[in-house]
């Protein structure tokens, strides 16, 4: 069994035992690894230590249960194998920055706060494109001109922008997608497909200008292919940021495509920038 296959089996094992008392030794046994080799391989494949991953998955599901059920906080803690309320609250606060009661009172999940189960696609993407050392872009902003649309009508928007760029395309080396989740969750999505304002100094009537919020941005590259974009976003939001000194400053992200819309894109040149701020402990 390859390391990746073993780690995917370990992820499945963890997933089916979130409410069962298991040790890391049990997980290692389930994939026929020694504990030492398992811990090393798991971290290598997921960029989480197995203990940290198990705790964060348990907290994520416990947090969901607090919002979706009327179970007592203590019962939820025991359901997810926390021996007492204090341990649960401490772990909960460490992961979500508030107590279980405050979380329940708030009544909703924040932007990409709860670690979902990592899958074989995530692990394979990390092996193929990672590890990432993001570049910090302090006080970054960008003036964009393009087509704004809601929902998933990206193809339509790109086609429209391509038409507007006829005649100026030779001046345009990159184009951008600025994706926002205005309500702070993924139910609503706005996308601006655009070029920089220098490319279109006179804004055509059908386009809009948007200046990105000034902030520190972290630039992650390579993405892999365009199909890997969501996997990289998952990696940034659920793996990299939670283990860093940063958190998301705005529920948005910027994708740079190294090609003009309408022309074949060079998929290997994609990069993702995320606005961040220092975490307050």
């Amino acid at each position: 069994m390859s390391d990746l296959a073993a780690i995917v089996r370990a992820l499945d094992f963890i997933e089916s035992h979130l409410q069962t008392a298991i040790t890391l030794g049990d997980v290692a046994d389930a994939v026929a690894y020694s504990l030492y080799h398992f811990c090393r391989s798991f971290k290598n494949a997921t960029h989480y230590t197995p203990y940290d991953y198990l705790m964060r998955r348990r907290i994520a599901e416990a947090a969901r249960a607090l919002l979706q059920t009327a179970a007592k906080v203590t019962d939820v803690a025991f359901d997810y194998q926390f021996n007492n309320l204090e341990t649960f609250s401490r772990a909960f606060r460490r992961v979500l920055g508030q107590s279980p009661s405050q979380w329940r009172q708030q009544g909703q999940t924040g932007y990409r706060q709860l670690l979902p189960p990592l899958t074989s696609a995530h692990v394979e993407h990390i092996a193929r494109c990672g590890p990432w050392q993001p570049t910090e872009l302090p006080d970054f902003t960008l003036a964009l001109v393009g087509v704004m649309t809601l929902g998933d009508r990206d193809a339509l928007a790109w086609a429209w922008l391509s038409r507007e760029l006829v005649g100026v395309a030779s001046r345009c080396e990159s184009c951008y997608a600025w994706v926002c989740h205005p309500r702070g969750d993924e139910r609503e999505r706005a996308i601006l497909v655009a070029v920089t304002a220098e490319v279109l100094p006179k804004i055509p009537p059908g386009l809009v200008r948007k200046d990105l919020p000034q902030a520190t941005y972290l630039r992650f590259a390579p993405v892999g292919t365009a199909r890997d974009l969501e996997l990289l976003r998952d990696y940034i939001d659920y793996v990299w940021l939670p283990q860093s000194d940063y958190c998301v400053a705005h529920p948005c992200y910027l994708v740079r495509y190294a090609a003009t819309p309408g022309l074949p894109s060079s998929e290997s040149d994609l990069e993702v920038c995320v606005p961040v701020k220092r975490r307050q402990n």
Binding site: T23, Y33, S34, Y36, K43, T49, Y51
Partner: protein, 168 residues
């Protein structure tokens, strides 16, 4: 992999110690994980005068122990010690800690090349120890590094001895 049974004397060792999950920051056989960093700190100490400060018994051999604690199975955290054999543990310099490596019966395995980075503990537990008809003490394991171990970057030309303590 070669295997043998051996009796070892009690050894006094002086060196550096770490407790935690050494793979938290970097995994694999990377000099950047906490085991690699422990070796780096030890190397800096050793070559900046540490060698002269210690009552060294044998400077050609270094030991790395992994010591498992009750929480190791839960959290993946364990203790790592690296050091050299010394003649006494009294009056060690402040930066250095002393350990006593228990004497007794050990299974000794010689790992060569890529075996060093493989999951040899699983192999020992599930193939070699049953074949030798012995049972291990699960509280620690010892790696013995001598001139046959070239470097982490050169595992293919290296050899490493692993000592597994056995139940009497």
């Amino acid at each position: 992999m070669k295997a043998a049974l051996t009796e070892q004397p009690t050894r006094l060792l002086a060196g550096f110690d770490f407790f935690g999950d050494p793979f938290r920051s970097h995994s694999g056989w990377s000099a950047d994980n906490e085991i690699g960093r422990l070796w780096q700190r030890w190397g800096e100490y050793w070559y900046s005068g540490g060698m002269a400060e210690l009552p060294i018994k044998d400077l050609t051999v270094c030991y790395e122990f992994h010591i498992y604690h009750p929480e190791t199975l839960q959290t993946g955290e364990f203790e790592v010690f690296i050091g050299v054999e010394v003649t006494q543990l009294a009056d060690l310099p402040l930066a250095v800690v002393g350990k006593t490596l228990p004497g007794g019966r050990y299974a000794v395995f010689t790992l060569t090349g890529e075996e060093i980075a493989s999951d040899w503990i699983w192999e020992l537990d599930h193939a070699w120890l049953p074949k030798l008809g012995v049972q291990r003490l699960t509280t620690f394991s010892v790696q013995r590094y001598d001139e046959r171990f070239k470097s982490v970057e050169n595992l293919s030309e290296s050899e490493l001895e692993v000592y597994i303590p056995l139940l009497p």
